[in-house]
Amino acid sequence: MRMLRVAAIMAGILMTALPAAAQKTLNVGVSVFTGTLSPSGGGYTTLSLVLLTSDGLVRRNADDTLGPGLAERWETVSPTQWRFHLRKGVKFHDGTEMTSADVKYTLDYVLDPKTVYVRKTRIGGIARVEAIDPYTVEIHTKQPYPVLLRGLSEIPIEPRLYRERVGMDGYAKKPIGTGPFKYVNLVPGDSYELEANKDYWDGAPKFDRLVVRQIPEGATRVAALVSGEVQIIEEVPVDLIPSVQRRRDVEIVSVPSSVSMVLTLNQLEPPLNNPKLREALDVAIDRELINKQMLDGRGEILQGQLVTKGTFGFNPNLKPRAFDPARARQLLAEAGYPNGIDLTMLTQSGRYLSDTDIANAVAGMWQNVGVRTTINTLEGAVWTRLDRTKELKPINMIGWFSVGDADFNTVWYTQASNRAYWKNDEFEKLFVAARSTIDPQERLRHYGRMMEIMHDEIPSIFLFGLPRVYGKSKRVKGWEPSSDSLLRLSKLELE
């Protein structure tokens, strides 16, 4: 009898142990990690983890294009009224069906003035949401609102019943969504463990478990990849790219991002209110060289405009001003500084890929034409405060990202954003016009002209579209690295 029991226990152990051995686990190393899984906070770091367990109405793809998410299709009834047809039979992880009630619940909650939700402004143009029937939702906007779809792609739909039962705090501790992975365990500062959702509406992931580990130090992240502990890492430091390329089983993959690295010049005060001085600074920079040295040639040289080539609103007729130190010296003299000038550039350290290296390289090139540049590196919180009070002057280096639509980064050059270090009335009018119509052709025309104005007036010197550099094991197949830093892992295969 006793033997039998032992045998039964042994068999039990074997049965649980065997499938576990055959399990496929994907390990991912990330640089920053979130403190909470609440969709209301934490920016893209959090959103990246939240979207593992949930979906938006609209899905933004790895290359910033848009496609159907929980809504399988949609149409505009009028310029201010959109109708979304929800996918039928989509289940939350607790088995309840996702319907229009959940969509309305989520959007109403996000838009509630009493809710603090970090990405609230992304859908701020919505006037009201109506559930027509279980699978149809209508969204009314205050004005024609062309960026609605892109905004919706950043709002994960939350399950109404579960949220009402456990509250936001309970949801953040154990999120339940419609997404490709299910929550298993979160160890703050260490790792997030998930399992594949075998019933995922867009096809179950082809591996069983997912562990996202935080490895803050770049060199350790690379070591963890090379030693096989993790199969994908984000943010490979540029100087460590060769050490990955030297190894046989791992490789570097990089994509252009929509983050535009620019040097913003304070045009509102002397000396940079002088257009010749601004142009001198622009033509003194050898972008090719900096891209090669500091970004491993993986950056995209901005074409004399704010947005990257892949962003809606790109103006194909513009080119960057040619690198010409002799002309820079001449312009400097014409601007009234034949003996050169002293300037200060503010930057952050470690905020963007190779940021201080790029700043130092620019300063060196300016030095060559007689612009003696001091670089002042600010800590993030101090930067944020000076940013609010508009004291990042006379020159600051910053990355603005567009997530694919010019509306999102041109906004920083309008007076309403309280971030602009210039003022241009035509630009202001065009900005409003471009976000008040849903006709793409008309919008493109407006953005084209806005890019031209910025090219001529140089409110910022446009440097690079920064690349995102990932490292991956060659066992990982069919994975598209994301240009917006959100992990998209549900489609890849692990050999």
């Binding site: 609440s38 705090d169 935080q214 350790t220 070591a223 030693s227 919180a381 101090v382 405060r385």
Partner: protein, 305 residues
């Protein structure tokens, strides 16, 4: 003895409050947690809402009064980034740091004192020269660099140990060695000097004259008397150990309090910073007390003086 302990215990809250007050002021004055949390796209409406929720719209002195009253009741507030009570958050992460620091500390003392004794016994001979040179070199080696080198050698080239993370004993080895190396050289050098100094004392000569063996002189006479500077060094090193843990935790992705403090300082997440600094200060103050007590036990001059 009891009055000595009582005196020390009475001073403890004063130093802790002083530390918390300084932390409060520095974190509050140099940045705004709400703006950092909400990012550049936040509307004024959202900023105002969160600010009043967190009582950040009140004058600084009033915030400080609320803060003090809460802390005295044992309430450190709620983390804005983690949306959770600050103290449990810190306590949850404390285990990892204590585990790492305790092992590194033990390693440093055992190896440091052992090597120090060896160097003193072999003074001015090759062994002393090698140990002392390595100790001096170790003292000037940044932990950051050492950590990366160890990963390179033991995780990548030899493949014996994992690079980072926490969970298995193997994952503890590299961070513990790195952190131990941060304070170990001090133990070597201080032990060596202390022994050499005591060895010159007349009572050692007297023991030798009595015909006591060298081993007996070392372990029965010299070592107990050389212990005092080593104990007081150990007390001082606890503070450095906590500082070193911050760097070590970052390199090895060790989920401890050190990294939590760093992240929270950058985010100006005051409740977490204060709770963490409180716990760390408490650890240091208590260890210093223990060190003083140990010294008083070992050395009657302190106890009576």
């Amino acid at each position: 003895m009891l009055s000595y302990i009582a005196r020390r215990l009475l001073l403890m809250p004063v130093s802790l409050l002083l530390v918390l007050g300084i932390v409060f002021l520095i974190v509050r004055i140099t940045g705004d947690p709400v703006e950092i949390y909400l990012g550049p796209e936040a509307t004024q409406e959202q900023i105002d809402l969160l600010r009043s929720e967190l009582q950040l719209d009140r004058p600084l002195w009033e915030q400080f009064a609320i803060f003090l009253a809460d802390v005295l009741r044992g309430d450190f507030g709620t983390s804005i980034q983690h949306k959770a009570a600050a103290l449990p958050l810190v306590v949850e992460r404390l285990g990892a740091t204590v585990e790492l620091a305790a092992i590194a500390f033990a390693l440093a003392i055992v190896a440091g004192v052992g090597l120090g004794i060896l160097a003193a016994v072999r003074v001015d001979r090759p062994a002393d020269f090698v140990i002392s040179s390595i100790a001096v070199a170790g003292q000037s080696m940044p932990s950051f660099w050492l950590g990366i080198l160890l990963i390179q050698l033991f995780a990548l080239d030899l493949g014996w140990l994992p690079t980072s993370g926490r969970g298995t004993a193997a994952q503890l080895v590299l961070p513990a060695v790195t952190l131990a190396t941060f304070i170990l050289p001090n133990f070597v050098l201080v032990t060596r000097t202390a022994i050499l100094e005591i060895a010159r004392d007349p009572f050692v000569m007297a023991a030798r004259a009595r015909g006591a063996s060298e081993g007996r002189i070392l372990f029965a006479h010299v070592l107990p008397n050389a212990l005092n500077p080593v104990i007081s060094l150990a007390g001082l090193q606890v503070g450095r150990l906590m500082g070193g843990a911050v760097v070590t935790e970052s390199i090895f992705a060790w989920p401890g309090v050190g990294r939590l403090i760093i992240a929270s300082v950058f985010q100006r997440d005051l409740p977490v910073v204060v709770a963490a600094v409180f716990i760390v200060s408490l650890t240091i103050v208590v260890t210093n007390l223990l060190v003083d007590l140990a010294q008083a036990t070992v050395d009657a001059r302190i106890r009576l003086g």
